[in-house]
Symmetry: C3
Amino acid sequence: MPISSTHIFVQTTGGTDIVDLTPQIQMQVKKSPVKNGAVTLFIPGSTASLTTIEFESGAVSDLKNAIGKIAPEDGHYDHNERWGDGNGYAHVRAAMMGPSLHVPIVEGKMTLGTWQQIVLLDFDNRPRDRSIVVQISGE
Amino acid sequence: MPISSTHIFVQTTGGTDIVDLTPQIQMQVKKSPVKNGAVTLFIPGSTASLTTIEFESGAVSDLKNAIGKIAPEDGHYDHNERWGDGNGYAHVRAAMMGPSLHVPIVEGKMTLGTWQQIVLLDFDNRPRDRSIVVQISGE
Amino acid sequence: MPISSTHIFVQTTGGTDIVDLTPQIQMQVKKSPVKNGAVTLFIPGSTASLTTIEFESGAVSDLKNAIGKIAPEDGHYDHNERWGDGNGYAHVRAAMMGPSLHVPIVEGKMTLGTWQQIVLLDFDNRPRDRSIVVQISGE
């Protein structure tokens, strides 16, 4: 059972940038010999997350609004008091949304719905160079 | 290391229907030759999620209430403005709760707690035919 | 492809105790022959979760506060009405944060960020003996 790990590199803009990773991941799956298996995605870092959503501007902005109510940028954060970097809200959001995602591969394709895309959510308050781990395993 | 993928089919009622999938998944694990491995569960689509909960009516209704406060059905959603399908709240909830779940199999059994069930949360505002991917891998 | 399952045991204090599991998991990864693969973590039980966070007291307390707003300890819970155990809030939090986590192993190391730790969140309202499943697979 082969297992291969690569990276996807993304430059984000800061301020909860939500980026569609699906085309790049699909390309990795296509290049892989795995026909039956899974893609594991993981974002190193503590101010970003991975999830799936219908990637259209309405749903993306609705998600931003809902997360913004749970952990507002201008709220009080003990993290900011201690470190002064102003991204306390980003740590809370990332811990709640989680860093990993697992998508099965069946007959050479990810089992995503038609309107379901894989997205990176970068909550940090400044542009970042992100590197997402893409691990494909199976047979 | 064998890897097998099947589906579980569920008809949901609309309006955040929460359905216990545990018996059907346990049956798949029992039928599988895998004694040491994992079950990967994935829900294709962008208005439903998977998680675990003690499946008793109190906890299930408490979870519905909490999610309903984060993304109320009658809130304003840009998705609804653009597409007019009225399920903007469902997209937000699904992206926050996530589409995948991973449960280890040890000595032929899933490592669930005694009061821990695997559930589908279908947030959509109409009945849906859902197909959950159940992938079992291991040895 | 070897696959091994062990447990980490943790005694928690009750009241949303957040515990850094990273050193113990790193030790398991170091002992394993797997150089390219993944660690699957799973918490049996319906009142605890796993995620990653920068494990410093500020971010940890910020996360507790945000979760406490979504499902306050002293809110009304149908679960409490039915069972009288007063931990309805813990069931809601655990279902929202999820029981599983998946971290790739590349060149013998987990792909965590420098300031990213793996944590157990025990939401229960009393001290608990927790046993986290640590499954390492790969080559």
